[in-house]
Point group: C2
Chain length 224, copies 2
């Protein structure tokens, strides 16, 4: 493993300092870099449980699939994020399984399930790290669930953006998140979070003080 990869690992495994020198050495020896093409199924229910993936480049999507094949995106992971559900087999309290694929060409540092399990059994900080990351993902799933089940704010925001673009005769809106929140009578954090979601889905792009509509058709489909 190259020194920059090692530094990346030390930075993003938050319990690194709580591991002994020997445990750190084991982790560095067993960790390996994996490269995936866009659209690769990295993990699925019933498949091997490959371990924790630390994302160096690219994007992973975590989703559920119904019996009939319908997909629901739970969350997306980007550079610096830790993918924990690909190691669900070694987390006793996680009893469900998900699908994970790559949304772009990706490069990850893999900590194999067995290595993670061995370290977790020896050092409670490693176990705690796994469960803490799980709790973060739990928060993201709850957010997704609220959006899907209550389907209100995304719809309202889509209507607002389309109305504004019609009003201004342009797909480029010069608005801060603060202003959008004020106009919509909502909280800035809620607006920012939903705009971030819209931009991850590539329906809009965001830059300082500007919201650019990229996929008007998709936004329209939210409003019906």
């Amino acid at each position: 493993m190259k020194s920059n990869q090692q530094a990346f690992l030390e930075e993003h495994i938050s319990c690194w300092d709580k591991l002994s020198i020997i445990e750190q050495k084991v982790l560095l020896e067993k960790a390996q870099v994996l490269k995936y093409d866009k659209g690769t199924l990295v993990h699925s229910a019933g498949s091997d449980c490959i371990g924790i993936l630390l994302i160096q480049k690219g994007e992973l999507r975590v989703y559920m699939v119904s019996e009939e094949g319908r997909e629901i995106t739970l969350y997306r992971l980007f550079e610096g994020d830790v993918c924990i559900l690909s190691a669900s087999c070694v987390l006793n309290s996680i009893t469900f399984d998900v699908h994970i694929d790559t949304e772009s060409d990706s490069e990850v540092i893999q900590i194999p399930s067995k290595t993670f399990l061995d370290l977790s059994e020896k050092n409670v900080h490693m176990e705690c790290f796994g469960y803490q990351v799980s709790a973060q993902r739990f928060s993201e799933v709850m957010w997704a669930m609220q959006q899907i089940l209550f389907m209100s704010f995304d719809k309202r925001l889509a209507i607002f953006l389309i109305d504004e673009s019609i009003k201004n005769g342009s797909d480029t809106l010069h608005l801060t998140h603060e202003q959008v929140a004020k106009y919509m009578g909502s909280a800035r954090e809620v607006v920012s979070r939903m705009l971030k979601y819209f931009s991850e889905e590539k329906w809009v792009s965001l830059s300082r003080g500007t919201i650019q509509i990229l996929d008007r058709k998709k936004l329209r489909s939210l409003t019906v």
Copy 2:
């Protein structure tokens, strides 16, 4: 705190043995018994974060509420279960909030948020306990989400039970979970889990080799 309550606490706080004598003493000093009538709102978004609740008697329901007031039940907690999301304010990785109420007269042992936080900061096993229980709840929420989003197996099971009761002219069905699974072409664990859910909702009651339909109207409403 009475000795039986102390024993109950020691039994259900799985990290108990990893706490120092002093930490155990603090926990016992600060823990207190709370009694709630049926239908009490124990915790809600924006309200005080009362801490971890260990259920001695009764039943808690954890649910989300939409802006328009629609409720979605995430899971239910029974005797011996640990309610962790009532302490979400002290779990950094949990960034959402839920509502929790009592479904029957309940008695809980409360570990105040501040006590839990102090112990978590001193002893990683306590922190890990909190996140591990969160991961269990994550699993339950994923189960609920699958049921709600994909809405297939509960519907199929409701149809099966109603058909059987019509066929036999009785609300009492003499069937094992194994038999139901066989007739439905499904797995026994899936049938058992869904029947458990139906019984928690009091739509059926279960005893050895028998399924009793309690709420035919509700089962029918699932089938449309």
